[in-house]
Symmetry: C2
Subunit: 518 residues, 2 copies
């Protein structure tokens, strides 16, 4: 008896299930004759759950007559109501369906036309069908053998996105969110400049420096910390009054970094900043990158403007970038998560940078073209399929339908801005470049009051108070934040194709109602 | 007119839509009066797509009478059949439903009882219902205000998982896959040892060293490269003949690293290695970590044995670890992606390590307890909700039901192994410790042939050929790989609760059928 068998015998003896005379096998009180799972029963549950999802999360959740974006409960109350605890025994069919209903009921309805709180909103039903199918098929996007349809589909979608960027060739991959895509940019740019980092770590190279604007997304900093480069080696380039990177300051900061002994390798420009939706001047940034020989990455909160003939000038110069992050889960409504990292490279840089050549997945003696086993381009192993939802939606709408969606968001934003200008209490932080509308609401008591410390102190409390009131009422959702010297202001993101004048008028009226006594 | 207005006027003029006399607003040919999206039509599509998903992906996909795990097509043929290209115009309702059907038809049925190819398999209908609901609610797991239910739920699930590990307190987070969870371990352990890395990068500290076994998952290496530490600074500790880390060699390698001028900071032990399913001796590894003051991480491919009173001894000592990765998307069947990173720390290390304090998400002047805004613990920004599927399944089965599932997988494995021993052509690589059964199939022509170069050469071609035949036939799926001196052998993973003796007998017969002429 070898060690393994000894251990196994021990289990059996411990459990008292050992069979007489024979090798110590099965036993252990299991019904080996049948599966542990009843498909018919399971499918029955799934059908009933689907009905509840339709009613609670989709019909009610998207009906603006309900004016109920959320059903606010304080955390302690909600915790008790939901009975979240996990126990030894299971629950009944009906009890579980009630749980599905409760989760839907007390969750925020991000599909609702009055949800303006994040950079995502709304629902696309074709994408949602694609998501259900993805979940059901439950495969991992690493080899052709387990994901034949999705390997080919990812390739087509990436190629289509690249061609919108303006590249005939290149590479890319779907990542779990835009932050990870931006981290890929850091790693790939670093690998191109200093391939030895992969083997030897950062100790083999001089201190490296990254450049991005003061208003860029925080993921560039998080990525730099995570990848061992450090926050202090991210140089924050100044922006103009509209939040766009100043190329002359980029040039200066690059020189400054060099004077401090660091080696610049990456500039991350932003097209559609998180708060103000500002577009960095890509062409001029590309000039600076070329001058200094740096990798240019573009992180486009607003990548989808590439789909619009009318608005794509905002992102002019993007074709000169080395890599681009694009998040269709934002403006295109594919649903979370759907982010791509695209690059212009045609030398297999992405795979060379990330590969580990695991023998159990990426066997070289397979009977099909193993270049289709794309998983080694990723730093993940199992990777969720994120392309189907985008592909199916694109098939449904066509490129023209997607373009209309982008144009509609711009038009809605325009309407909102012009309406704000007609109303006394609304004060824009800046004229919007994109679908982010940043504004202060000045309540009646503060109108005409002189700007000063006391004024700002009072104004800074207006947005949080209105926000609390709208949440408790559940009528709508919009975010706020301070920024640099500016006290708390609202950031309204107008991107869902399901909104119309009615919702925007309601929004403005509701802000006035909620803030009239402040 | 300011710059923004000038730009806007330009758009309008460019498009010829400028309205006479007024401010240049809306126009741009958009129907502002209504939404761009018809909910009734969308929901109708979703209902029909759901029916197809039920029929094609669930009923047929799980029916072992079909014996059709995949419907193999060579890449070029499949590409043509699927018509993946994205065009300007959209497609009709019926055409889109056909697309849903085609995607399901040509995808691998990982839910099928004869799918043994990866470390995931099978379907749990409660988890699937949770996944549909997650997709529909489409929110991001970063703040209580947009994810009230899921913030509280994640907390409960993490706490329950920690208590199975053996910790009364601690912290944790859901990550997009086990590789990312392991990367978290590297970053958090590094931050505890050298907090200055976050600000100053790796140049501020000496060369660091990580230790993991030769048979550990490749994500430890990928993570080390991604996080700037470098592959050469991952010391691969020897394993015994069963694939388990040798603690004495760990101790030696730590000394060796020090002699080479590196600073050890992290040991990543494996409980359930990827290929052989081996369990490193955690208690003895914990002794070594304590002796040297190193962070101990456990990456358990087989974390779910913690649920089994009968088998949890395999993972004894895990409570002494500082952090643990656990992937319920494997043995527990929650579906991809569902991975957690758990840690014992109670000093908010995870958040301190990763936080960036973005003002637009994590305002400190909110009206609720902002410690519930857990998003800054993550290196992601938007983060998919991954807890609901696990929670709902757990509510359905109870801890006891999950335990039964784990025990059943072990019992199935036992049955299979004993059956293999009765058949002439099957030769085990090792007695399995877990649900991975590694074996060679020796075809009749090779039986009795003397071991030697020619024998190995011929044997190495058996698994790839049988694999090709089973794929083209679509009868079942199982993986193979070489490992160290061993030529290609099969790795069969027996984890789905929906399999029974019938499937295992079929599997063995089918291997014999497919390989009898080799």
């Amino acid at each position: 008896m070898n060690a393994a068998e000894a251990t196994l015998t021990e289990h059996m003896q411990g459990s008292g299930d050992r069979e007489d005379g024979g090798v110590p096998l099965l036993a252990v009180g299991q019904h080996l004759n049948g599966p542990l799972l009843d498909h018919a029963e399971g499918q029955h549950f799934l059908k009933e759950a689907f009905q509840i999802i339709l009613e609670e999360a989709l019909c009610q959740g998207t009906d603006n007559k309900e004016k109920q974006v959320c059903e606010w409960r304080d955390p302690e109350e909600l915790r008790t109501m939901l009975d979240l605890e996990l126990r030894d025994g299971g629950e009944s069919h009906d009890q579980l369906l009630r749980r599905v209903r409760d989760v839907a009921k007390y969750s925020v309805k991000t599909n609702h036309p009055l949800f303006f709180n994040q950079l995502f909103a709304g629902v696309d039903y074709h994408a949602l069908a694609g998501r259900f199918l993805t979940e059901t098929l439950n495969t991992s996007q690493y080899t052709y053998e387990v994901a034949p349809v999705f390997v080919l589909m990812e390739d087509v979608v990436l190629s289509q996105l690249r061609s919108l960027v303006g590249w005939e060739e290149g590479d890319g991959i779907f990542c779990p969110g835009g932050s990870v895509s931006n981290m890929y940019a850091i790693n790939v740019a670093r690998y191109r400049a200093f391939p030895q980092v992969k083997l030897k770590g950062l100790w083999a190279v001089p201190r490296l420096a990254i450049f991005t604007s003061q208003e860029s997304h925080y993921s560039v900093c998080k990525g730099a910390a995570f990848e061992g480069i450090g926050l202090e080696n991210v140089f924050l380039v100044n922006v103009d009054e509209r939040g766009c990177m100043i190329p002359e300051d980029l040039d200066l900061k690059i020189e400054l970094a060099r004077m401090q002994g660091a080696v610049p390798f990456l500039v991350s420009a932003t097209s559609g900043t998180t708060i103000q939706g500002s577009f960095d001047p890509l062409d001029r940034i590309a000039d600076v990158c070329e001058k200094h020989g740096l990798w240019m990455h573009v992180d486009p909160g607003g990548g989808s403007v590439l789909l619009s003939k009318r608005h794509r000038h905002l992102i002019k110069g993007i074709e000169r970038a080395d890599s681009v992050t694009w998040n269709p889960h934002k403006m295109l409504l594919t649903g979370l998560q759907c982010s791509v990292f695209l690059l212009k490279d045609t030398t297999n840089l992405l795979k060379r940078c990330h590969c580990a050549n695991a023998t159990y997945l990426f066997q070289q003696d397979k009977f099909y073209d193993v270049s289709l086993d794309t998983g080694d381009k990723s730093v993940q192993c199992g990777r969720k399929v994120d392309c189907l939802k985008l592909w199916l939606m694109w098939k449904a709408l066509g490129t023209q339908g997607l373009e209309k969606r982008v144009d509609k968001a711009f038009a809605n934003t325009r309407y909102l801005v012009e309406e704000m200008k007609k109303r006394e209490g609304f004060h824009l932080v800046n004229e919007p470049q994109f679908v982010n509308v940043c504004f202060w609401f000045i309540p009646p008591s503060l109108r005409g009051v002189e700007d000063g410390e006391e004024y700002r102190e009072r104004l800074s409390k207006v947005a949080p108070t209105i926000k609390e009131r709208m949440m408790r009422k559940g009528s709508m959702m919009v975010g706020y934040q301070p920024q640099k010297g500016r006290v708390n202001f609202f950031r309204m993101v107008v991107l869902s194709p399901q909104i119309s004048q009615e919702e925007m008028d309601f929004f403005l009226d509701e802000i006035e109602r909620l803030g009239k006594d402040l």
